[in-house]
């Protein structure tokens, strides 16, 4: 071992030690968060997510330009890490080489891979820099971003590659006996270009680049903890630990123990968030894909899901110092808490909980859970919410519906349709195979009642043995839960679970995706386990079985339809095809045109997350944005599969083009009943 090896060993030890202490510091920060033990189960699913979303960059590729660019850098990083490891060990123990441990073909493959991926990374980095410097890519802008950090990082990676190539090439110039085109062909080619350099100079340049490369690697490693590029370290663990793509149902809000001995319900500051939400802050690299698809942000509202996550990390780094120095006599000045200090009430209430941000995040960050935990604190802890929401809360509590309708009239839509209630059947000692959970809109809203009746008629025509709850049905509680009112939500959920238990209900159909998501995915938290089928799936199924007698109709009044995806049906329950399938089966002659944003990229109607009950005065109305998109397809009619979407789409479309009707898919089918 030479003095130079010794010096390098020392530098590696210091760099590794410094990095380790920083990792330990950041892990310590995570420990400030609340316990969350739902992150260790279902290893196969987590490994699958890690492989597809992490290693194979599934979500990164949703952007056709940045996707391949990032994948080149990421895969290059993975491949080159092997070379970097060998490089560091050799720097300390010069005799070490992987060639001793690998068969020749494998060693050659490995050497080739270093060269090829090095070149790809240079290309990708150059493209990324060019893109950042010459195109103001909209999603990369924003006051919360650290705009110079990516330029520094990209240049740094570029330099790492350049020094790697130069060190290799000058080595070949200085020691021609090491040169071979079969191992490092690109370095070999470069060495040929550089062959005019005298050998002793080449040896010097080799050393210069070797040391530069070594120091850049170790510096890079230690810069990460201070940069948004911490995602290099944090994102793969984050993907593994995330629940946003399973295991478990997507978008299920966490159960909250209301009897817990705590003064703090929900999150006012970072220590009230789950440690996983804090890790989200470390995993975020500010790519802005979330904010670019946020219906609130893109219609001019203050809310930006990226800012929420960036704020979590900023406040965490500040708060951790406060908490660590508390009582030590060297207290750090108290900053303002996450709520109000970093994130305003206005931002939190703008969220429609459409889940587009979560769907889009390439590293499985859960922006929604931060927003929703903070809403819980606002309502449960501080009773702060937009005042127009109060009547909805009071009505849900008093009348079991967010609208002030008489609960006794819940089943009135069924008058004269010969549809029994569960109570009536029970009195006669009978029961029904299927419960139709109608929901509040379907029961009380004049427009939605038409959907309700249409669906009921389809089921009757198909000979389905079903019943309703009538006045015993209550709001599923979704608006309350999404608006942070967990107390009210649990009250409603428990009452519904008790009612359903009374009639031994197993199978439920509903035309409301919010009812479906609650009953099917969130009621298990209260012991309610049911098969819940959305009417789109159910009707598609009945049609496929030929159980619905349809009239022959070759000349439909409407020849082109566009279908608007409901968030709670789509991104929450992955039902994208059934409603389209239903339309196609009901109207074989009809042409279905898609909006630019459809399927899992569908734009929210603006009503979710309790937004239905709030004013929307900030920016453009979300339903206006969506209506314009729907009308731009040239479709003659718009189909929906959610009563909330129906209201929002109908309001905004009818004020723009009265000739374009909005139908629920059930109405389209019922229209053709023979």
């Amino acid at each position: 071992m030479t003095a130079s090896n010794g010096l390098f060993a020392l530098i590696v030890a210091v760099a590794a030690g410094f990095f380790a202490s920083n990792v330990q510091r950041l892990v310590g920060y995570l420990r400030l968060g609340r316990l969350d033990d739902s992150r260790w189960d279902n290893v196969p699913r987590r490994l699958y997510n890690l492989a597809t979303i992490g290693i194979f960059q599934r979500k990164i590729f949703r952007d056709g330009i940045a996707g391949p660019m990032h994948a080149a850098i990421f895969w290059g990083f993975c491949v080159l890490t092997v070379g970097t490891s060998e490089f560091i060990v050799r720097g300390i123990v010069p005799t070490f080489t992987l060639a001793h441990y690998l068969p020749q073909w494998a060693y050659r493959f490995y050497q080739n891979s270093q060269d090829l991926w090095g070149a790809l990374v240079i290309g990708a980095v150059a493209f990324a820099l060019w893109r950042r410097l010459t195109h103001r890519v909209k999603r990369l802008q924003g006051a919360e971003t650290h705009a110079n950090d990516p330029l520094l990082i990209l240049s740094w990676i570029g330099l790492l590659m350049v020094t790697m190539f130069l060190a290799e090439s000058f080595e070949m110039v200085a020691f021609p006996q090491h040169a071979s085109p079969y191992y490092r062909p690109l370095s070999y080619a470069l060495a040929n270009v550089l062959s005019f350099v005298p050998q002793d100079w080449a040896a010097f340049f080799r050393s210069l680049n070797w040391w530069s490369h070594g120091l850049l690697v170790l510096g890079f490693l230690n810069y990460l903890p201070y940069s948004k590029h911490l995602h290099v370290v944090a994102s793969l663990p984050n993907v593994y630990l995330s629940n946003t793509s399973g295991p478990g149902q997507a978008g299920v809000m966490k159960y909250m123990d209301l009897e817990a001995e705590t003064e703090q319900f929900g999150a006012k500051d970072v220590e009230h968030l789950s440690w996983k939400s804090l890790l989200d802050g470390f995993a975020c690299t500010e790519c802005g894909r979330c904010t670019a698809v946020c219906p609130a942000n893109t219609t001019g509202k203050l809310l930006s899901p990226r800012k929420i996550i960036v704020n979590v990390r900023e406040r965490l780094e500040q708060r951790a110092l406060e908490l660590q120095t508390a009582g030590s006599g060297r207290e750090t000045a108290e900053g303002r808490p996450l709520l109000d200090g970093f994130i305003s009430e206005q931002e939190l209430w703008a969220c429609t909980t459409c889940r587009a941000c979560v769907q889009e995040c390439p590293v499985s960050i859960d922006q929604l859970s931060v927003i929703l935990e903070m809403r819980r604190n606002l309502v449960l802890g501080e009773s702060r919410f937009p005042e127009e929401v109060m009547p909805a809360f009071e009505s849900m509590e008093q009348r079991g519906s967010p609208w002030a309708f008489d609960p006794g009239e819940r089943g009135k839509w069924a008058d004269g349709l010969d549809i029994p209630t569960m109570a009536e059947l029970a009195e006669r000692g009978e029961t029904a195979d299927i419960l139709y959970f109608v929901g509040c809109m379907g029961s009380f809203d004049d427009r939605a009642k038409k959907t309700t009746v249409a669906f009921a008629k389809i089921m009757k025509a198909a000979g389905v043995n079903f019943a309703i709850l009538g006045r015993e049905e209550k709001c599923n509680g979704d608006p309350a839960r999404r608006m942070g009112n967990e107390y009210l939500y649990q009250m409603l959920a428990r009452e519904n679970v008790d009612t359903l238990a009374k009639y031994h209900v197993r199978t439920i159909v509903t035309a409301c995706p919010h009812c479906m998501h609650q009953l099917g995915n969130e009621y298990p938290q209260f012991g309610g386990h049911y098969d819940v089928i959305h009417h789109s799936t159910f009707i598609a199924h009945l049609l496929a079985q030929g159980r619905v007698p349809l009239r022959e109709e070759l000349h439909a009044a409407v020849s082109t339809f566009t279908y608007h995806d409901s968030c709670y049906l789509g991104r929450y329950n992955q039902i994208y095809d059934a409603p389209r399938e239903t339309l196609k089966r009901a109207l074989p002659v009809v042409h279905l045109v898609e909006m630019p944003r459809s399927g899992d990229r569908g734009l929210c109607c603006g009503a979710g997350g309790g937004r239905m009950w709030m004013e929307e005065s900030e920016g453009k109305r979300i339903n206006a944005e969506r209506a314009e998109e729907a009308l731009a397809t040239g479709a003659q009619a718009v189909a929906v599969a959610c009563p909330f979407c129906m209201t929002m789409m109908r309001d905004s479309i009818s004020s723009r083009d009265e000739s374009v009707p909005v139908y629920d898919i059930a109405e389209v089918v019922a229209e053709r009943l023979g």
Binding site: E263, M390, Q398
Partner: protein, 250 residues
């Protein structure tokens, strides 16, 4: 400062009412109950006064069977400090009889300000608050829309048709609260949890002698559906005939 708020538990006015078989009250089956709106404003006003002072105590009082405890708990969860149920199981409709029971409880409580709703939203008698003041020998300002308590004096504003009055009187006093003064807050979960530990006393109500009886309660007759008798000028003679003969307004 000691404040008392008299609150009444009333049915949800959005419900569909039926007359009970007794014929003198409503059938409570299926109805939801809550604090009368004006009493909610009164509780809010009282709580805000103690919050502003950073001191004081709000006592909420309600007369009725044990179910009124739920309504009292709601006031406690809003921020009132203690509650008293004047237990009385039979319904009472006579404002004076109720005021007598309330006054008996309030008399020795040492309250500086007693707040009532302007009226109960169900029976709308508008009498209890004023009766309580009279029985206690205290000044009363009714149906106020603004309130300011300062240095032993209460200043209040009353809305009139196209005008308003500003009235002041010394404490102790009784005020009855109109709308527009404050919205009853939505209790936070913190408040609900805290309310479970706050004192709720149950005392027998000393209801006064009943001075009148409710004889009979009836629902208004259903309004007949509208009729379209035709369109354009051809329909006019028939319309005139009906207005003369059926409606008898011409």
């Amino acid at each position: 400062m000691k404040l008392a708020v008299c609150i009444k538990r009333v049915p949800d006015m959005e419900g569909r009412f039926k007359i009970a078989s007794s014929g003198t009250g409503i059938d409570e089956a299926g109805l939801k109950f809550d604090m009368s709106d004006f009493d909610g404003y009164a509780a809010e006003v009282a709580i805000q006064i103690t919050e502003k002072l950073g001191a004081g105590e709000v006592t909420v009082i309600s007369l009725g069977p044990d179910v009124v405890q739920e309504t009292l708990r709601k006031a406690l969860s809003m921020g009132a400090h203690r509650a008293v149920q004047l237990k009385h199981d039979a319904p009472v409709s006579d404002g004076l009889a109720i005021a007598t029971a309330l006054a008996a409880e309030l008399k020795d409580g040492g309250y500086d300000l007693i707040l009532c709703g302007r009226m109960a939203v169900d029976t709308q008698n508008r009498s209890t608050g004023a009766f309580v003041a009279e029985l206690l020998g205290l000044p009363v300002i009714t149906a106020i829309s603004q309130l300011n308590v300062d240095g032993g004096v209460v200043k209040a504003r009353r809305e009139l048709e196209g005008a308003y009055e500003l009235i002041e009187c010394p404490l102790p006093a009784v005020v009855t609260i109109d709308e527009g003064i404050a919205r009853a807050r939505y209790p936070s979960l913190k408040g609900i949890m805290a309310a479970k530990k706050k004192p709720l006393e149950v005392k027998p109500a000393q209801v006064g002698a009943v001075t009148y009886q409710l004889e009979k309660m009836e629902l208004p007759a259903d309004r007949a559906a509208g009729r379209i008798i035709g369109e354009g000028k051809d329909a006019v003679p028939e319309l005139v005939r009906l207005l003369k003969e059926e409606a008898k307004v011409l």
